[in-house]
Symmetry: C2
Subunit: 391 residues, 2 copies
């Protein structure tokens, strides 16, 4: 088949620019260079032992067959209990579907909400894949500039100004990637009210849910009960490679979401669902909380250290494991700075090009997914590099 | 959110009709009734012990993180070796991508080939989900009637007659579901030539690949090297609930398929990919072959037994684990017959409504995914039921 057969959609979907940088980092490592990886959106912890043990037991017990499309009933209940216990939020198990990662949940959410040619509002900067789920269903991503003034969150005022006749939905993230900032209760309430008022959909991507370093953040299930909430076992629960997530749908939407799950995915991984049951044991929760504490310490080290070096990090990056820095005081071109930091300082970070359309050349994302010692090493190397260039 | 927000697409995608029947079967079982399940498309074997053991080891070793989007390099190589060793077929590992089930591969294949409003030809009868992957990307499924004269396979002549200016691709299955029939080398060559000639895509769904009970079937990778071939670890390799599959793309298409994998799925399950490595050991292969022999014996029992009872099963169901029967000599309405077989004979089968648009009321699918003793029990019960109704 000739590549001319390729759909317009597959031409519009962009690869991650960081992949080229990652390949170069690996090349340098193969030449013996030491690289501090701050470009990777994956916790540096393997899945917690109790969860791995539960997975092993599921396999030993022969839990390898298909499951109901909406997921293992006991897992849907465990998540409902978790919302009640941890956040005093009332989410019926019937509204919870277990999905193949947050990715699978986003496919289903967009398939339900966005017909071709309709608009979906997304904050800019934002997670690059999210716009590509919109592209998959041939809807049109509409980047809405968000800045430090709203802590990089889409507010109802910003969304309303960007809405038009073709708007079908809004897709926001909290904690956000690349900024690590949180939506407030007012933000969520405002978006929920706007969704109702305009008759459009609201999707809240909470895949970093659980990874917050101040007060408990506002919960979408509480402040936007009409939203589709997308969540994941990848980040807080440390199950990245298992590809397991969940979605909460508004009351009355379960049947259609289930029908789509059944047709498009059959079910999320069975061994992973059994393993995830162990995420809600006191033993596993203690591990997750200690890891959260480690992320908090890293952030508390890295944020002031980078600010001191001249990286402008506005707002309150109180969740996920990212800092998003404005580097315009240091250079004209963040991609070039990223390349130099890799080549000359041995520190890999992600350029803004992967996250935004407005001012990509002014931004770099730092992930604190590596330990404190390595973060300190990175800061020292960056400082030396900046000094060597006279900045 | 109001259900009026639902996309046209999500209204077009139909649930499996068999689900209502399955729910009723479970209800009868909870009342103490014994039901023989011949409606389920899942082998009655758990994942083979060596594969489960490899999964357990992967978890013990901490293989729980993200993998490259295209899959574990060693697994892509193992599949390439398997094609060479088992079928003397030359498939470079670079053309193989590991996917979240055949489902994930079908999402990517259709995302690459079918823009909104374009037509995709599918054989009718066929697997119901396949048309829904077409719906996901807002292309239009075009059912092409196939019958016993072509062994229920789409031929180039049938496809050509159905092609028009809007045709973007053809999607065929071999071994087919619900018929269990195989595409011949000539069928595949004809479709491949037609695809080239008309500049359209060809997708061959081989998820029952490996489950054939006569001579080795014609391989799409050999006779249609320009096709996207979709395969699975679910059926022959017995890994249903793990959700692992693969796709072979034409030379030059890897990069775009990889970009879509990266954005839409990140990667297929990491523990599953490590476990699947054990599928290619002599120990596991011996188990798969003995299971294939068991399926062959079941087919060799069930096919003549059903024919003797008046079920018309034309063609040569030489693969998968299905028999597709024309029941017009026995009743006017296969759905009603299916209901009666469940209620009165305690045998669950799938009505044609799930598989075809042309003559659903004339067809039933029998799955031989239960053991020989239970199949014999089912045949006896069906015979008694038919006798009791005077047929």
């Amino acid at each position: 088949m000739s590549p001319t057969l390729l759909t317009a959609r597959s031409r519009r979907i962009q690869p991650f620019h960081v992949m080229a940088l990652l390949a170069r980092a690996r090349e340098l490592e193969s030449q013996g260079r030491d690289i501090v990886h701050m470009e990777i959106g994956e916790p540096d912890f393997a899945t917690a032992e109790p969860v791995r043990a539960a997975g092993q037991k599921a396999l030993a017990d022969g839990h390898t067959g298909y499951l109901p499309a909406a997921g293992l009933p006991a897992l849907r209940e465990a998540i409902s209990d978790y919302y009640a216990r941890r956040y005093s939020a009332d989410v019926a198990p019937q509204r919870i579907l277990i999905t193949p990662g947050a990715s699978g949940a986003l496919v289903i959410a967009l398939a339900m909400l966005a017909d071709p040619g309709r608009h979906v509002l997304l904050p800019d900067p934002g997670y690059p894949c999210n716009r590509n789920f919109v592209e998959l269903v041939d809807a049109i991503p509409q980047a809405v500039r968000v800045g430090a003034d709203t802590d990089y969150q889409l507010t109802a005022a910003l969304a309303e100004a960007a809405c038009d006749e073709r708007t079908a939905a809004m897709l926001v993230g909290s904690p956000g990637n690349p900024t690590g900032t949180l939506a407030s209760a007012a933000d969520l309430q405002g978006l929920a009210a706007l969704a109702d008022q305009r008759g459009i959909g609201l999707i809240v991507d909470e895949i970093y849910h659980g990874l917050h370093y101040g007060d408990d953040p506002a919960q979408a299930v509480v402040h936007a009960p009409n939203a589709i909430v997308v969540n994941s076992f990848s980040k807080y629960f440390g199950m990245t490679g298992w590809r397991l997530g969940w979605m909460v749908v508004p009351a009355g939407w379960t049947e259609v979401a289930e029908k789509l799950m059944q047709n498009l995915f059959i079910n999320a991984s069975t061994p992973a669902q059994y393993a995830a049951m162990a995420c809600f044991t006191p033993e596993a929760e203690a591990i997750f909380e200690s890891r959260r504490e480690a992320f908090r310490e890293r952030r508390d080290f890295l944020l002031p250290a980078l600010r001191e070096l001249g990286f402008h990090i506005p707002g309150n990056p109180a969740g996920a494991f990212y800092l998003y820095a404005d580097v315009s005081a240091l250079c004209d071109d963040s991609e070039d700075l990223g390349r130099r930091l890799l080549e000359e300082a041995g520190v890999a970070v992600t350029p803004g090009l992967d996250f935004e359309r407005t001012a990509p050349e002014r931004h770099l994302r730092f992930a604190y997914t590596t330990d404190q010692t390595r973060l300190a090493e990175a800061v020292e190397r960056i400082e030396q590099y900046l000094r060597s260039t006279g900045r």
